[in-house]
């Protein structure tokens, strides 16, 4: 326990020392604070999703919703609520814009054998089971638009976790329709969608 506290303090000290070194231009320090977890080129790492190439309005909305505690799944609480606690709205906008300009790389970590059925579900939905086509909002190539996120190439684990957690009652940003939609997806449908999307370039 003591060891954990010390190492956390050390990280904080490291971040703090980086800030004065970049005095006069606070923005590179803010970017560094994101890339500690989201990866050097913002392609995502472990539980932290890729930010590179994401729709700036989406990223900005998420940062604000972490700040307001509307987005409340366990990792959000554990990492992002604290990370954005002192983030100004203008810095949130700047960061979202900055990461949207980074080139995204596909996660490619899903199950290849499920990709075809995931693609069908993404593009056509399933009218018999009242599952809507994801492409209606997220775009034919999962590229996203405005505040609707790009899904193409996000990691399988991230997509699966989000879709599952919404079904368990965790919240997205305010007014986002996804928790309602995800709650109707079966675990097989989630596996297929997350697999397919991880390969989309």
């Amino acid at each position: 326990m003591m060891k954990f506290v010390i190492s956390k303090t050390a990280v904080l000290a490291l971040i703090a020392s980086a800030v004065p070194a970049l005095a006069g231009n606070i923005e590179p320090a803010s970017i560094r604070n994101c890339t500690w977890c989201h990866g050097e080129s913002a392609q995502g790492y472990a539980p932290a999703p890729r930010l590179a190439g994401q729709r700036p309005q989406y990223t900005e909305n998420q940062l604000l919703s972490f700040r307001k505690h509307t987005r409340d799944n366990p990792f959000s609480k554990q990492y992002m609520w604290g990370a954005v606690a002192n983030l100004s709205p203008s810095t949130a906008r700047y960061l979202a814009f900055y990461f949207s300009k980074q080139h995204p790389k596909a996660g490619n970590d899903g199950d290849k054998e499920l990709a075809a059925s995931g693609k069908t579900l993404f593009e056509d939905g399933n009218p018999e089971s009242n599952t809507v086509a994801c492409a209606v909002c997220h775009g034919p190539n999962a590229e996203g638009i405005r505040e609707i996120p790009r899904l193409g190439g996000l990691s399988y684990y991230y997509l699966k976790r989000k879709l599952t957690q919404w079904g368990e009652g965790y919240h997205a940003a305010a007014k986002a329709p996804m928790p309602r939609i995800a709650s109707k997806l079966s675990s097989n449908e989630i596996e297929a969608l997350a697999s397919y999307l991880s390969f989309v370039k």
């Binding site: 939905g125 018999e128 009242n130 809507v132 492409a135 209606v136 609707i148």
Partner: protein, 216 residues
């Protein structure tokens, strides 16, 4: 032979009784679906068309269905099924719907009355109102109000336009000829709108769309 035909007939008779009893219990006339399956289908429609049928901005504008004419909704679903109206998603959505289900869905959405989503450029509204009410005689464009009504509430097969998403109206009118009336062997009411859409300029369409967007 006789015995086996009785054996076959009996379950059939039981099934017939069960079905007729279901029909009576639901009290939905010719309905071939349960209240639960209608409710699930309504929720499905609203996932894209908005929780109150007010429309939604997806990757493309998804139209408002609230307050729409029932006959228009039913006609459009039929047009999607017969591929007279081209749409990437709606054929798939509509071809599984029975005629009775289509009627029930149209009735449900026609009775909703949420506020318009708004958002259209306000500076275009005045020009749009003039075009809507007076038409553009020089361009052979009749007053929209002639068919769609003075308050744009529609009438039968003429759709309600009041409160519609302006970018939806813009997309539809600009692409009219490539989306509507796609089966030459089966001409439909969309032919009425074809020359009108063709004669309107994009900026005139944008103005009418802005006016309609704010109508309650």
């Amino acid at each position: 032979m006789k015995v086996s035909s009785i054996r076959l007939a009996l379950p059939t008779a039981i099934l017939a009784i069960v079905f007729s009893a279901t029909g009576r219990a639901e009290d939905t006339g010719t309905a071939d679906f349960s209240k639960q399956s209608l409710q699930a289908k309504i929720e499905y429609c609203k996932t894209c068309h908005g929780v109150s049928g007010q429309g939604f901005h997806g990757s493309t504008p998804i139209p408002r269905l609230a307050g729409q004419q029932t006959q228009y909704i039913e006609n459009q679903l039929q047009a999607f099924i017969e591929r007279r109206r081209d749409n990437k998603y709606m054929y798939n959505v509509s071809h599984v719907l029975s005629p009775a289900m289509r009627t029930a869905l149209a009735k449900h959405f026609s009775e909703l009355n949420p506020k318009s989503l708004g958002g259209a450029p306000k500076e275009l509204v005045a020009t749009g109102k003039t075009i809507y009410e007076k038409g553009l005689p020089d361009a052979d464009v009749p007053a929209c109000a002639t068919c769609h009504g003075p308050e744009a509430k529609g009438n039968g097969e003429f759709p309600r336009l009041a409160g519609q998403l302006n970018d939806y109206i813009l997309n539809k009118l600009v692409n009219w000829s490539s989306e509507r009336g796609q089966d030459p062997a089966k001409p439909d009411a969309s032919a009425i709108m074809q020359p009108i859409a063709h004669n309107l300029t994009k900026s005139q369409i944008a103005a009418v769309a802005a006016y309609l967007n704010y109508l309650e």
